[in-house]
Amino acid sequence: MTGNGNGSQPVLVVVQLSGGNDFMNTVIPYTNSTYYDSRPTVAIPHEKVLPFTDTLAFHPNMGPFKELYDQGMVAIVQGIGYPDSNRSHFRGMDIWHTCEPHVVATVGWVAKALNTLDPEGSNPLTGINFGVGLPRAMAMPGVPVTSVSNLDNYGLMTGIGAAEQRDRALDIFKRMYAPAIGSGPVMEYLSQTGNDVLAGADMIAVAPQQYESTIEYAATPIAQALRDVARVHTAGLGTRIFYTAHGGYDVHANENPAQPTLLGDLSAAISDFFADLREHDADDNVAMLVFTEFGRRVRDNGSGTDHGSGGGAFILGKNVNGGLYAEYPSLAQDQLANGEDLPHTIDFRGIYGTMLEQWLHIDPQPIVGGVYEQIGPFK
């Protein structure tokens, strides 16, 4: 199988690093003495880092990621964040999910984008989350989204093991959920939702069957999740936005070796993912956004780092103009947010805007709630 059946329609893959990835130990200012002075415990020694400019280096475990960077496929968004960061994971993640820093909202930016891409909700696979539970970014009443925790066993009635019995139960389900006129709006809504789930599960079932690849992904959760993205993308089911999360980045204690392991898993998984798409000639229309809810403090706490503000994001893909975007936040004491956090130098809503307008070709303003400075990371 080559190509992906989506024609030239652009596809966005969002990877969420949950817990607040420590940007300073990911893209390391390895010539800055403040970095070493502030982090006696967790700083990565100068001689171990993987330099890619005179002042910046990747974490030593990010070899595969650096190769992608060297191929010009990685745009690094330095200093991404939002005003008045409150350092809470959940609130922070909500803000990233809803683009509402000052009021609590429940509708997500990805769901709004899906609603623009498929206003009728005609394809339940236009947006797919791989993971347990739907992220708020994808939540919006009336927008069907498929959430898959196990692609090889996705769907209704999966607890009925025997295939014949399960098929029979699914048939009963379909008949029980058939639209009934006059049954009331809630019953009708349940009927519609049940049928969306059935249709989505039927469609997605072909993906694992069709997929073949020489790429051997690692057994890590992020690698398996990105393999699922590749399996569904290459099946050409019309998915425009994929979403998945990689957890564990909340490293208050024992930052090393926790974060290095995660960064190693992540960079290997992303590298394998793009190699897989290349093998299927399905990489032309894919861009990936990797983000986290905040960066961590400049100073370490003797074991790890506490919640901070500004962080970093990455945009990857064949059509990306690799390099550095926005500014690396200053480490100077008088520049720090809250007196101890990396400040942000670009608003995350401008980066969403960049992806929505320049990649998905939809109007970002109603989605991110305003006009924010964008970058130009695409060829």
Partner: protein, 466 residues
């Protein structure tokens, strides 16, 4: 039609509790409906749960740290308490006074808040609001610890009036400012953020030198009010009785629109809400007489399957039916149930916002419907579970396919279903044919067939309703 007294008692137990096993229902149905209601209204007459054994099996309950195990302990109480209405009212107040763990990540104060709701939840409005105003988790959640004499913070003052007691349209912005001033100096002793203080319980503290003791005018009362005075006035407002009555209606009777719509959309059943308001007013804000009025009303009795089950109601209801999680058992992990409700959209002790969960059909989307159906179907997959054995033992005699469908619907609710569900289930039963359950061999032969029919029923649209 299902047997009426069982159907009515089952409805009561689903709403005033979390459902009941078949044998419990049969026991209750032998009594007058109003007597069963009285029993529920008097939780103290029943023994409280012993938690010692639970702690012995779940050692993480010896320390107030992780949220999933402590939320799991609450779910365990919902499953096993012989005071079901007490737990249901604790959940009710948690819905209304939505406070979330995520802001402070401080588990002890969340545990203590829910324990307060359990203790005071059936007392009276004044006691309940006072407990809330002095609750450290709420205090931190709505920043009253930042409400200082020289620099008031209005977050708590505003939400007390808007979301917790009176509702939009019944007070002015000026009332919010005055109420907020009255609560200056109301704080708690333990700095709540987890880092670097760790998990220690906190308690209410009044700091007199940080309190603004000058005169205030609040809802046309004037005086040098303190927080207690504000609570006294709020608890006495007709708007408060009406607001809480509408919440009770939506939680116990039938789904109302979400709270923000209440100032523009009238109640669906104004008569019943009026009856609840009158009960509040005639009984000085006491909760029990209002609940008595509610459960004995025709509106309540006729509201079967008129509410979408919350995830907690669905999960606990299914577990009570299949009869697991009765004894502490390491092979039945409590956080698994919390995880199940969370992926269906309701993580207890951690609601999304101060507005609480959006209920009714908003519980349902593609992801959550899939989780709800699969959870129920999976729980019904092992026919050796005691509750399933109990159900199977009640499928007796010779049954035509139609009898079998009737019997299974009766045992799982009784559940009333529409024509489509009925005919789909009938076609399944037709394939089984007429069965006779008199011999042991016959019972064994048809166990799997009947269990699969039960699985289809719990997957139905109708089963999503309480």
């Amino acid at each position: 039609m299902p047997d009426n007294s069982i159907a009515l008692i089952a409805h009561l137990m689903r709403r005033a509790g979390f459902g009941a096993s078949r044998s419990e229902l049969e026991e209750q149905a032998a009594r007058e409906y109003s007597d069963v209601v009285e029993g529920l209204l008097d939780p103290e007459a029943q023994p409280d749960l012993e938690e010692d054994v639970l702690r012995r099996y779940h050692l993480d309950l010896t320390y107030p740290d992780g949220l999933p195990i402590w939320a799991g302990r609450w779910v365990w109480r919902m499953i096993n308490s012989s005071r079901p209405l007490e737990e249901k009212m604790a959940l009710f107040w948690h819905h209304v006074f939505a406070t979330a763990w995520y802001k402070g990540e401080h588990t002890p104060s969340m545990i203590s808040q829910i324990d307060t709701f359990r203790r005071d939840g059936m007392s009276d409005l004044r006691t309940i609001f006072m407990g809330l105003a002095k609750d450290p988790a709420m205090n931190y959640w709505l920043d009253n610890c930042e409400n200082h004499a020289d620099q008031p913070n209005e977050n708590w003052g505003r939400e007390l009036l808007e979301l917790f007691s009176m509702g939009v349209g019944n007070y002015s912005e000026f009332d919010i400012k005055e109420a907020s001033r009255a609560f200056t100096g109301w704080t708690f002793t333990q700095p709540i953020p987890l880092y670097p203080f760790g998990h220690h319980s906190s308690r209410f503290e009044f700091v007199a030198e940080d309190h603004d003791d000058t005169e205030k005018t609040f809802l046309s009362h004037t005086g040098p009010f303190n927080g207690e005075d504000i609570i006294d006035i709020v608890a006495d407002q007709p708007a408060t009785a009406r607001f809480i009555a509408r919440h009770l209606y939506s939680f116990f009777v039938a789904d109302e629109p979400q709270v923000p719509a209440w100032s523009i959309e009238p109640p669906r059943d104004p008569e019943t809400v009026d009856a609840l308001v009158n009960a509040f007013e005639e009984n000085d804000g006491q909760i029990v007489p209002v609940l008595r009025t509610l459960f004995n009303s025709d509106a309540f009795k006729n509201a079967r399957q008129k509410r979408v089950k919350s995830p907690v109601e669905l999960v606990v209801g299914v577990i009570k039916l299949v009869g697991t999680y009765k004894e502490p058992d390491p092979t039945e992990p409590l956080p698994a149930l919390v995880g199940a409700t969370a992926v269906m959209g309701q993580q207890i002790m951690n609601p999304p916002t101060v507005e609480g969960w959006h209920t009714g059909h908003e519980w349902i989307d593609g992801g959550t419907l899939n989780e709800r159906v699969n959870f129920a179907v999976n729980q019904f997959s092992d026919s050796t579970k005691p509750g399933i054995q109990e159900l199977l033992s009640r499928v007796e005699g010779t049954l035509t396919p139609s009898d079998l469908v009737d019997r299974c619907l009766e045992l799982l609710g009784p559940l009333e279903v529409g024509d489509q569900t009925r005919s789909a289930l009938q076609s399944y039963a037709d394939d089984i044919g007429e069965i006779n359950r008199d011999s042991e061999q016959a019972r064994e032969d048809h166990t799997d067939d009947i269990v699969r029919l039960l699985q289809c029923i719990v997957a139905s649209r109708e089963y999503q309703f309480a």
